[in-house]
């Protein structure tokens, strides 16, 4: 495809966004069934998979700004799904640990999410899904390169 015939609906970037928005809308409904949003589901799942992470590490891993994570963790702690624990070695840091209720909720929610994902991928063969994931990884990588290049340019201009 050349730039000449690149109309709005022909843009792969727009197809990517439409599919993402549609998929995340469905996922949001699954999250809501468990009283979760995308961000709270992500944080609770990560903390369950890797207990003891600091908030800053969770924020880094999930690309969430630290100030925004405070409310998310507060919400999950308020519902008794995880607890904050002051790090023994560095009393500035809060490590995060799932409660039993949190682990149970993650198990249930993740099962529903996986089921929803199967519905979304219905009609695609395993090789097609693998090819999709490869393509998505390439795009994410290329976009990251773009961001770094723009950042370097900004730095060198300063």
């Amino acid at each position: 495809m050349t730039a000449a015939d690149a109309t709005l609906r022909a843009l792969t970037g727009y197809c990517l966004r439409r599919a993402s928005v549609a998929a995340m809308t469905d996922f949001a409904r699954v999250f809501a069934r468990h009283g979760l949003r995308r961000t709270t589901f992500s944080v609770l799942t990560l903390v369950t998979e890797r207990p003891g992470l600091r908030q800053a590490q969770v924020a880094e891993a999930l690309a969430i700004e630290r100030p925004n994570l405070v409310q998310i963790v507060g919400e999950l702690e308020g519902r008794g799904l995880l607890r904050r624990e002051t790090d023994a070695g560095d009393r500035r840091a809060q490590t995060l640990h799932p409660t039993l209720a949190g682990r149970r909720l993650v198990t249930q929610a993740m099962a529903d999410v996986a089921e929803q994902e199967e519905r979304l991928l219905d009609g695609l063969t395993p090789p097609q899904v693998e090819a999709l994931r490869t393509a998505l990884a390439v795009i994410e990588h290329n976009a990251g390169m773009q961001r770094e290049a723009a950042h370097d340019q900004q730095v060198s201009r300063a």
Copy 2:
């Protein structure tokens, strides 16, 4: 992949979202070089491709709520990139028409967007890109099915 090993990073839905966010972040930078945002670029491009559409038709085509489109069109009209024209046959309706400046801006911006898209897809063969677009269409379709099913359920409950 079964639900059993579905950790956060293994979810295809999350890979899809990360790639989409990364790609749209880059596109946003391209739009900004022309004084546009994603929404204003989309509207101006569509109006240039299909002049004379009513606002309600543009909103429907781009999945933008009509109230939100008012500001977008107002911004583009204020910059002299398109003009509203009261429909002769239905004086409630406003049809949208690109100005010369608007058409020129779309040509320039679309060229940059297509170039950016090529960078994003760098490393993928044309068949791989085609397979990606097929997979994205399947996901969007499946998600739409999900939405309709949920809506039908909601209606039948009422």
